[in-house]
Amino acid sequence: MSPFLQHPDRTRREFFNTTASGLGAMALGSLLTRDGLLSPATASASSIGPSSTTKKPHFPPRAKSCIFIFMAGAPSQLDLFDPKPRLNELHSQPLPKEIWETARFAFIQPESAVLMGSPRKFTKYGQCGMEFSDLLPNLGSCADDLLMVRSLHSEEFNHHPGQLMMQCGVSRFGMPTMGSWLTYGLGSESENLPGYVVLTAGRGSSGGATLYQSGFLPSSYSGVLFRNTGEPVLNLRNPDGLPPELQRAGLDALGEINHGRYQEVHDPEIASRIANYELASRMQTSAPELIDLSSESQATLDWYGVDRPEPPGKGFRGTLPHLKTHDAFARNCLLARRMVERGVRFVNIIHASWDQHSELDRNITYNATAVDQPIAALIGDLKRRGLLDETLVVWGSEFGRTPLGENRRGRESNTGRDHHPFAFTMLLAGGGIRGGQVYGATDEIGWNITEDPVHVNDLHATILHLFGLDHLRLTHRFQGRDFRLTDVGGKVIPSWLA
């Protein structure tokens, strides 16, 4: 509780000298609001139900920030990370009967479907010899920092439920996302920016805004959407014709009136509101500064690929005609680094769509080209600045794709792959992850996991562990039940830890 709240009858002068307009504003702001985002959810939360908020980790953390790069739509692990020579040999053969009799398919007609090899060339990278396809040469150069997990699995078969599963640990609606849980559990280190930020490039994802909702947690734990150009946060710009000095004068007058009311009715929500107006005002400066890349060297901009042109061609699934997705994705990666530097806890970079049911080669080439260089630059840049140790970078999606070519009725040309939640690949780096290792394995055609299966809940349990949080203890009581990110499952995977 702020000192101000403990002494409600202090004079107004004293209040203003120490809080709203002076240096003390920072103190008030942080005291009231280190809670989650910029927002003092405590006052609200305490009046709307019990909460098990903890702001200290359960044990010493390895990671302070997370950059979650979410490739919505399900990239093909078989064409990027998990080479299957045997699958190439079996190209055009039917699926083994024991598999198609038990498996479930979205579009594929299993009786007539045939296996589809990958045309990609795989190369070993780094000292560890991790394999990447020719679509990801830049990421390959980070191999020794990366943990490649080839044995993720999920229960969800369709995109939106699968995306909720990956973000919330359970596919039901109304649940908090990973970024909400982390900011709820740890708060934010940033004085001037939200603790949980979302950046998007390309077309919208299947899950839309539900992928960064706070569910039953207060909305102050929702992801705040930032744009990489123009107005970075909604409503950040003053109305046209209103100069900063009048915004300031207005806020001073507002602070006085609100404070007068506070002295009259003693409601701590008013104090929170005063602080939030001040924080909003600071965001009006800090957010544009954040997205202003003029202080970055040309070499850095080029490293990430800022201002890259779009590749030739039209109709790619990973973009829309009016979007410059290659440039936007590069900016988002660079902004993620700048946010982490400024104490943002969780950055969710969303790119859609990787849902390549058809024309797999040209679409995956477009998407891989969009993301390969910027992500590699991000990892390299974080490392160069000594931030990678405390920044967890995660690359992944809701599920993977089938080794079968898609033979949906009317599109039997076998140029794409169907949904595959039974075995898919994700990457992790930094933040206490032991790089240079491949974890888990799949069978010779990539259908089933043969070694070390990792459920989405296990991934989440391990991520929370890196942040010093015990996934069993990070809970929130809602409708009589203590909920957690890992639902009723989850186990930490010790061999991932550095």
Partner: protein, 805 residues
């Protein structure tokens, strides 16, 4: 079948009613099962020793099992003998290996002592309070009855007297009228309404104001929105495709209409849950079943439609549990409930009521008003057709009398017509008739999604292993939870969805009226009497005023389930009319105002915030219902949804300024002005909105377009009003927002801001024109208008404006 959770007669330590006798319970330091033991067991024991799991053979939620011999041969509870009870030994153990519970902190000394005392006194179990019959005890009579209006005050005052706390004095009349407008209408009162009320000293002035507000359609809109939260109402399908639902608004309008006409809550319930099955089913009753068509529809490619049908039926089952029963039954999809006595089998028995309700469409009128208009237009049209037909006939008869007509050979209809058409006069009249006939008004009909009970090929319901639609187990018949009383003479389960709906509101089921009045109370006090409005189970909070809750529940039934009458009872009470000022001297004793020694202050909901701004500015449209509208939205928001074909085409005219509840709600890309203020996402039912207080919210009211437009319009409003001087103008703007006049210090602050703004705009005419935008005022220099906008926008950002006090 014995349906109550009381398996045997008990010599109860406590009375089961909450009347005067119950006060002894509430104030007594004696240990009771309901107050001390059951909450402790629910929090710390039942997860492993409850309905779902019985580790070591121990189940602690029922007396007969809690007293039974364990796998180990010990007995957990020996009534009257704590020393022989293994439970005490284990919870008090010094050894971490033996101590229960195995996880978390050990029980406190006090908790162990409570268990000990309770066992010593005989280890009596009582049923969970929420399932007990409603108490019929009379309201207590407090010592001090000064200022008491009705029974509500008797309950609250008696409780305060036990705590030794004085109630707060009544709020001043400005606050009272503002409070009533915010709670009942969600818009600002006009200055004239405020002045009338403040000046009216007649004893019934307050009551007349309440009656007037309850009778207005503004009340129906405001309270419909509360219900729409529960209905998870939206204008799109949800999930990836999130397609447009062109008919969703028709259900929203049904809710508004039902509340406006004060459709009793029992009928309101029956129509929404089973309106399709009523013998005397009206189209409106069938439309009501769209309550359960607000479930999401997954049309993503490659979906198994049976999976999503089952998911929707589960949502219907769980929404029923939350909205009417206050129970979170969802856990039992996969396993028996861990805390509440609700089995997986019972879940699928509830599910079975909905499993044969098919998703269908029906055709109906778009609104009663449009139907009436249609009927008027049709009658007028038929008149003019008849007139024109007469005209045609007249001409024909006239032609037949001519000589030329005599020359015709055989005269029949065909030849006469042929003949007549050769005459231009006739041909033209005939053509006009045909044209007129073609212009008949079209009946205002539309297709709406509803539920219709499946008649043939009916589905059998199975328990689904782990909730998986592909793993059916044994079949089950429809049935209601065994902890609740049954129905009819033989106390049996309702057999059909219609019977189940009737059972809910039969008055025999005590949960439904308790839950329903708690919702209404919550909207008028910002907190329920049961604060966990979504959870009346054993882990939920107990009512702060059990006797009051039961009295209100009984009163709701006695008032014929009239929502308006019950709301009136509540707002008439002295408890409601208290000041909301916090009392620092009580901040340690009762920081969250459990005992209602004051009213509560709270920020209003997202839609109401918009409505307050627009009404104070004089911009708010009063149009009721119809298709949802598209007020301006920041660029890029709709790009976030997957369906790239979706376009947010900004509405024109008054549709830009409709109430917030009419804003189109797209589930995967909702309007940010709604979500920033905690509007629910409409994917699942919402029983209680959150009230966050964030910098993003501050940015909305400072800078967002519609809020800025409200400032512009408010400035124009006071500049064109018949007022003199800055002081009057400031006061007018201030009062348009918060009803009361400003304090001198507030006047002074605003004068200074006005002066600063004038100074600045004096030398910045271009910026002044920008700020004024489309809200220029005739004969007022834009620099002056801009200075006013810069000032009134700060009034509009006062905490008091968006706070119901």
């Amino acid at each position: 079948m014995l349906r109550l959770a009381l398996p045997f007669a008990l010599s109860l330590l406590v009375a089961s009613s909450y009347g005067p006798a119950a006060r002894a319970e509430e104030s007594s330091p004696a240990v009771t099962f309901a107050q001390n033991i059951q909450p402790l067991l629910a929090q710390r024991c039942l997860e492993c020793h409850g309905p779902d799991a019985q580790e070591g053979g121990l189940r602690l939620d029922r007396r007969e099992t809690a007293l039974a011999e364990l796998d180990s041969g010990d007995t957990a509870i020996v009534p009257g003998d704590p020393a022989a009870s293994a439970l005490i030994e284990r919870v008090a153990s010094e050894s971490a290996d033996l101590r229960m519970p195995p996880e978390g902190e050990p029980l406190t000394h006090d908790e162990v002592e409570q268990l000990r005392k309770w066992i010593a006194a005989g280890a009596h179990f009582t049923g969970h309070w929420a399932y007990e019959p409603l108490s019929t005890a009379q309201p207590p009579v407090p010592r001090n009855t000064v200022g008491i209006v009705n029974e509500i005050d008797q309950f609250v005052r008696a409780r305060l007297e036990q705590e030794g706390i004085e109630p707060s004095p009544p709020a001043d009349r400005y606050t009272l009228i503002k409070r009533l407008y915010y709670d009942l209408h969600g818009v600002t009162p006009t200055i004239a309404e405020v002045d009338d009320f403040v000046a009216n000293t007649s004893p019934d002035a307050y009551e007349r104001l309440v009656d007037r507000l309850l009778a207005s359609p503004r009340f129906a809109e405001r309270w419909a929105r509360h219900w729409l939260d529960k209905a998870r109402y939206a204008d799109s399908d949800g999930y990836e495709k999130d397609n447009h639902r062109p008919d969703a608004w028709r259900y929203r309008d049904w809710v508004i209409h039902a509340i406006h006409t004060d459709l009793p809550f029992d009928e309101f319930t029956i129509q929404q849950l089973a309106g399709d099955m009523l013998l005397d089913r009206t189209p409106l009753a069938h439309l009501a079943t769209a309550f359960h068509r607000q479930t999401l529809t997954n049309t993503e490619g490659g979906t198994d439609q049976e999976q999503w049908r089952v998911a929707a039926v589960m949502d219907r089952t769980e929404t029923l549990g939350s909205v009417w029963l206050g129970l979170t039954v969802g856990c039992a999809r996969c396993h028996n409930h861990k805390y509440d006595d609700f089995t997986q089998r019972e879940y699928y028995q509830l599910f079975a009521y909905f499993n044969n309700g098919d998703e269908t469409t029906t055709e109906m009128v778009t609104s009663p008003e449009s139907q009436a208009k249609y009927e008027r237009e049709l009658a007028a049209h038929q008149d003019s057709v008849a007139r024109q037909r007469k005209q045609v006939e007249r001409i024909r008869e006239h032609l037949l009398l001519t000589e030329e007509a005599q020359g015709l050979g055989e005269q029949n209809d065909e030849t006469i017509e042929e003949f007549a058409l050769t005459h231009e006069e006739y041909a033209q009249a005939k053509a006009e008739l045909e044209e007129l006939q073609a212009q008949a008004p079209k009946p205002p009909r539309m297709k709406v999604r509803v539920i219709s009970e499946r008649e043939e090929d009916r589905r059998t319901t199975h328990v689904l292993h782990r909730g998986e639609f592909k793993q059916p187990q044994e079949s089950v018949a429809p049935g209601t939870p065994s902890t609740l009383p049954g129905w009819g003479a033989d106390d049996a389960s309702p057999k059909s969805r219609l019977e189940m709906a009737r059972w809910l509101v039969s008055g025999e089921n005590p949960l439904v009226p308790r839950v329903a009045v708690n919702h209404i109370w919550g909207h008028l006090f910002g907190q329920g009497i049961v604060r966990t409005v979504e959870d009346f189970g054993v882990r939920g909070e107990r009512p702060t005023h059990p006797g009051l809750l039961d009295w209100l529940a009984g009163e709701y039934i006695r008032l014929g389930w009239s929502r308006k009458k019950l709301a009136k009872r509540i707002v008439m009470s002295a408890t409601y009319r208290q000041q909301s000022r916090h009392r620092p001297e009580l901040s340690d004793v009762d920081p969250t105002n459990r005992w209602l020694y004051r009213q509560n202050r709270f920020r209003v909901e997202a839609e109401a915030i918009r409505d307050l701004y627009l009404s104070a500015a004089g911009l708010l449209s009063s149009k009721i219902g119809g298709p949802s509208v598209f007020p301006p939205i920041p660029p890029g928001i709709t790009d976030l949804n997957y369906n790239s074909a979706f376009q947010w085409k900004v509405s024109g005219g008054e549709d830009r300024f409709r109430r917030g509840m009419y804003t189109y709600f797209k589930r995967t890309a909702p309007h940010p002005n709604l979500t920033t203020f905690d509007c629910p996402d409409s994917n699942v039912t919402c029983l209680k909105r959150r009230r966050s207080n964030t910098p993003l919210a501050a940015l909305v009211t400072l800078n967002n377009r519609v809020f800025h437009e409200a400032s512009q319009a408010l400035a124009r409003r006071i500049l064109t009003a018949d007022l003199e001087g800055d002081g009057q103008r400031i006061e007018r703007a201030f009062r348009l927002c918060v009803a009361r006049p400003p304090e001198p210090s507030e006047q002074k602050t605003l004068h200074e801001l006005l002066a600063t703004s004038r100074d600045w705009y004096a030398s910045h005419p271009e910026e002044a024109r920008q700020l004024v935008g489309n809200y220029a005022v005739a004969n007022v220099d834009s620099r002056e208008a801009a200075a006013w906008i810069a000032t009134v926008r700060i009034i509009m950002n006062m905490d008091e404006f968006i706070t119901r006090e």
